[in-house]
């Protein structure tokens, strides 16, 4: 299909970025270039993916395509033309009608940034008022059509809701509907699925694919997730340090990557069919403006030659595939399997953390409830039985709202369990954190998803590390400083980082500081809540490797939350699949991923994206999260394709196959035959 489309795309570009160079004046008053000599075209109806690590200029380029410039920026060279018109020469009035009209934008976190105080109808009417000629009387009709177009159930009822009454996926759909209000010819999407969980992400991507077919829109799809880009785009531009370093069809870029950077990025992605940790890409992209000569990637490139840092790399065209590298076409791709990092597991049989019949509820019985004898709603999390041995990693997986974080909050003592037992060896973890002894607090530490939020922006790295050292060991200033430097070296950071503020560190460095802080207490158990999902793939691989190495050195135990199943497979020994606060399946990673599957585990595995244009995730059901878990029977009954009448009445029993335990009424063999054979466990490069 892409052959024909690529053919006619080259004839009449709709959007033409020509030798575009964009600069801004930095704090030292120097004009530095964020985008350098970017040339690419988007044809009508075509989907172009922009990928690269954060800070490489993807969003800047995407916004420039609607002539949005951040303050202080200026066009240094080149043009961007939309239907032959130079966007930067347009009058403000024209530009305004173009934006949101013929060119639509779905910004980062669009769903979360809907106005919280306005109902959905008001938000859609606002978009219609600005970007369509429809008379007021037809707005409601059109709003309903738009909501149908984005496949939202019961659109009329949806109009009356507030954003917070919708799930994350539904909010994202509303954001898409608002962008469609102006009937755009070109839709620019900036990380539209980042932060959504696997199943929701698969649904949104599917929606975008069908919308593009139905409406014939062109799309520019920005993402750091190559799996998501592979689903949407026909062509992919890989960006590095403000340059397009590789541009070609998605088959060419993803399956025969030529530039060393593209290859390194692809290798760093953990995959379900690979064993062990993916190799990481060392170092960081150069600072804006620091490279003026030679190939920007030379500092990190394994193939760098003397010529690379002396002369700018030319953009070589290899059979319709552009690559900016001196050695383009000469580099052979090594077998990627050989690069996989394997670390031996050192777990013991000594149980460290035990959860028995744990029940957690956010509901607090109020006076009115007691008087009216209202029954308490079904507990958010119930019947959790888990055992974690010393030195092991247990991963909790499930979509958002499945209670993963809630279980962590109970273990850390922030939201104590209502019923059941949580123990760390002999010690009672049912106590709220305030009542735990200092030694017990020290032994359980936590690492958070987003280091931007978990590090105090006003504390230097030293002050951040000093706090636990003072709290748990009462060290004085000098001793703290020595110990803090030691902790930094543990996470492979040099001691000069001690006096920096978090704002002066990159995402990966910040997460390393957060890891160092957690090791300051010399813990036994570390709770990791989505610790890599806010990081670039290249950094993610390095952080995962660091965590694994620290586990070997220190013998710590991890309870790991992640929504990326490939990450879980790479790092965990045991995995527990949660749905609506109930465990569906639990067991050793190898058996859970390759052995028998619970129907929900299968749904999750089917929705996994791969950086492969031929890979098709299978999605089923809808992405509306349920408000409450069912009161009786199987937690998964409402969405299970195999549900039977008894599933609604009786709690299913555990079925065991070796270490793999599945909670379902169906026999394991019946499950295996009823769910179609696994499609996803297949060799990517076959």
């Amino acid at each position: 299909m892409s052959e024909a489309q690529t053919m006619n795309t080259t004839m009449t570009p709709m959007l033409d970025v020509d030798n575009f160079t964009l600069g801004y004046t930095n704090a030292e008053g120097r004009l530095v270039s964020v985008l350098r000599d970017v040339s690419l075209q988007v044809a009508p109806g075509e989907a172009l993916g922009l990928v690269g690590e954060s800070g490489c200029g993807k969003s800047t380029l995407a916004l420039a395509m609607m002539a949005f410039l951040r303050s202080g920026s200026q066009v240094q060279n080149g043009t961007i033309r939309f239907h032959e018109q130079d966007l930067f020469a347009l009058k403000p009035k024209m530009l305004q009608s173009l934006r949101g009209g013929r060119i639509g934008l779905i910004p980062q976190n669009a769903g979360q940034s809907l106005t919280p105080t306005l109902k959905i109808d008001a938000q859609l009417y606002e978009a219609l008022k600005l970007h369509s000629d429809l008379p007021r009387s037809q707005w409601r009709q059109r709003a309903i059509e738009l909501l149908q177009q984005v496949r939202l159930p019961a659109p009329e009822a949806m109009l009356e809701r507030y954003p917070h009454q919708l799930s994350g996926g539904q909010q994202q759909r509303v954001a898409v509907a608002m962008a469609l209000a102006g009937q755009p010819e070109l839709l620019i999407l900036d990380e539209p699925t980042t932060g959504l969980d696997v199943t929701t992400q698969a649904h949104i991507l599917e929606l975008l694919r069908t919308l593009r077919q139905e409406l014939g829109m062109a799309m520019v799809f920005v993402s750091h997730d190559l799996g998501a880009v592979a689903r949407i785009s026909e062509r992919i531009a890989v960006m590095y340090a403000g340059e397009v370093i590789e541009l070609g069809s998605s088959h060419q870029v993803l399956l025969q990557p030529t530039h060393p950077y593209t290859r390194a990025l692809l290798d760093a992605i953990p995959r379900l069919d690979a064993e062990g940790l993916p190799p990481s890409l060392p170092g960081y992209p150069p600072k804006v403006g620091s490279i003026t000569q030679g190939c920007a990637f030379a500092g990190r490139c394994p193939h760098a030659q003397p010529i690379c840092s002396e002369q700018d790399a030319p953009l070589a065209a290899l059979s319709g595939h552009q690559v900016r590298c001196h050695l383009a076409g000469e580099l052979k791709r090594p077998a990627s399997d050989s690069k996989v990092v394997q670390l031996p597991v050192q777990s013991s049989d000594e149980p460290l953390l035990m959860l028995e019949q744990v029940q957690i509820s956010y509901h607090r019985q109020g006076l009115m409830d007691a008087l009216l004898q209202r029954p308490a709603p079904v507990a958010t999390v119930d019947g959790i039985d888990l055992q974690l041995n010393k030195g092991e990693t247990l991963a909790l997986v499930g979509e958002s709202g499945s209670g993963k974080s809630t279980i962590m909050r109970a273990i850390s003592g922030i939201q104590p369990a209502r019923n059941g037992q949580i123990r760390l060896k002999q010690d009672d973890l049912n106590l709220p954190v305030e009542q735990r002894s200092k030694a017990l607090k020290r032994r359980v530490q936590m690492i958070f998803q987003n280091p931007d939020a978990s590090l105090n922006p006003r504390h230097t790295v030293f002050e951040i590390l000093q706090q636990p050292l003072k709290l748990y060991f009462g060290l004085n200033h000098d001793a703290c400083r020595d110990k803090a430097a030691e902790l930094l070296s543990l996470v492979r950071l040099a001691p000069h980082y001690l006096d920096r503020l978090p704002g002066q560190l990159s995402g990966g460095e910040k997460q390393r500081v957060a890891i160092a802080r957690c090791f300051a207490g010399d813990p036994d158990l570390i709770l990791c809540d989505e610790v890599t999902s806010a990081l670039d793939v290249s950094v993610q691989a390095a952080v995962l490797k660091l965590l694994k190495e620290l586990q070997q050195q220190r013998g710590v135990t991890y309870l790991f939350i992640a929504h990326d199943l490939a990450v879980v497979k790479a790092i965990a020994d045991q995995v527990a699949v949660l749905y609506q606060g109930r465990i569906c399946q639990v067991g050793p990673v190898s058996e859970v991923f390759t052995g028998h599957h619970h129907p929900y585990t299968r749904t999750l595995l089917n929705a996994v994206l791969e950086p492969d244009p031929n890979h098709q995730p299978v999605i089923q059901g809808d992405d509306c999260s349920e408000q409450y878990p069912p009161a009786r029977g199987c937690a998964y009954q409402r969405r299970c394709p195999l549900a039977e009448p008894r599933c609604k009445e009786q709690l299913p029993p555990w079925k065991t196959d070796g270490g793999n335990r599945i909670r379902c009424h169906l026999e394991l063999d019946a499950l295996a035959t009823l769910i179609d054979r696994p499609q996803m466990i297949k060799a990517v490069n076959a």
């Binding site: 704090a27 990481s280 060392p282 170092g283 960081y284 600072k287 620091s290 500092g299 850390s412 003592g413 922030i414 954190v433 305030e434 735990r436 200092k438 607090k441 020290r442 359980v444 530490q445 936590m446 958070f448 998803q449 987003n450 939020a453 978990s454 590090l455 105090n456 922006p457 006003r458 504390h459 706090q467 636990p468 709290l471 492979r492 950071l493 040099a494 000069h496 006096d499 503020l501 002066q504 990159s506 460095e509 802080r517 207490g521 390095a542 190495e549």
Partner: protein, 297 residues
């Protein structure tokens, strides 16, 4: 173990500290620089007035009452023949001392309570905020007069009462600023680490709301100066014969048509001080990146 060398090739230029950044922003604001210069001039003058004053500020001279400004008495004299220049120079000392201490008190208790309420949240916060709102609705000047009439007008009573009343508004602002940081993970991280509430408020939250607190302090100070001078004007502030702007204006207001200078100079001194504080506070808020228009109250 593989070492990952990170960031080794980029030279470590230590970026300017935050406060130096704020200072360089502040320097770019002309109104802020004017305000700050006038403010510093006022403070220095008040500090050095006893040595700089050309005449004895309490010496009455029956032969020289209500003299117009002249070479000998630059600002003229009052109805008791006292040199107005010396009195104006001295007249800010008490006001500035009392209001500075009062502001310090207001910001300390208001800030601590505001941060704690924001951090604790829940019902305690909801109820105490209602109390704060009720207190804010009290006509504070009347109440202040009542308190001072009851306990007397010693310096420390003035500091305490002014500090208390002006702290109420600070609670509101600081609580609002705190609420932005409480849901952040670094607060949760401190809680899971097992830090005490006081440590969380002082170590984690204070550095983040310090900006808002500083700007608030400057604004409260300006208002408190006005309040203190009003009290003096009404006879509840400084006890004569200590010179004070409010008192001087009150004493001379009957003679404004025959001796306008006796009112104008102390009024000018008071208003330039208040305006300079306001200009500085505004510029500071902008330099820090806080927008006062957005702040509650």
């Amino acid at each position: 173990m593989t070492a990952i060398t990170m960031d080794m090739n980029t030279p470590v230029t230590k970026p300017a500290s935050r406060w130096r950044q704020v200072w360089s922003n502040l320097r770019r604001s002309p109104s802020g620089m004017i305000g700050l210069s006038v403010l510093i001039f006022h403070l220095l003058l008040a500090l050095l007035a006893p040595w700089l004053a050309p005449h004895d500020w309490t010496l009455q001279n029956g032969y020289q009452i209500l003299q117009a400004p002249s070479e000998a008495f630059w600002f003229g004299t009052d109805h008791m023949g006292r040199d107005l220049l010396s009195r104006t120079m001295m007249g800010g000392r008490e006001a500035i001392t009392v209001t500075m201490l009062g502001t310090l008190l207001a910001v300390s208790w208001g800030g601590l309570v505001g941060m704690t309420l924001g951090f604790v949240g829940g019902r305690t916060d909801a109820w105490l905020m209602r109390v704060i709102d009720a207190l804010l609705a009290i006509p504070w000047l009347l109440f202040l007069l009542l308190v001072i009439a009851l306990v007397g007008q010693q310096t420390w009573t003035l500091v305490l009462t002014l500090g208390f009343f002006f702290g109420i508004a600070v609670v509101r602002v600081v609580r609002g600023a705190t609420l932005e940081y409480v849901p952040r993970d670094f607060v949760l991280a401190a809680r899971t680490r097992g830090e005490s509430r006081l440590t969380i408020v002082v170590r984690e939250l204070l550095p983040n709301v310090l900006d808002a607190l500083l700007v608030e302090a400057a604004m409260r100070w300006a208002w408190m100066l006005l309040a203190f001078s009003s009290l003096s004007f009404l006879g509840f502030g400084v006890v004569p014969p200590t010179p004070d702007w409010g008192l001087m204006i009150a004493d001379s207001r009957g003679m404004i048509s025959i001796a306008p200078w006796a009112v104008i100079f102390p009024a000018l001194a008071l208003s330039t001080l208040i305006i300079s504080i306001n200009l500085t506070a505004d510029a500071l808020a902008k330099a820090i990146g806080l927008d006062r228009a957005k702040a509650p109250v």
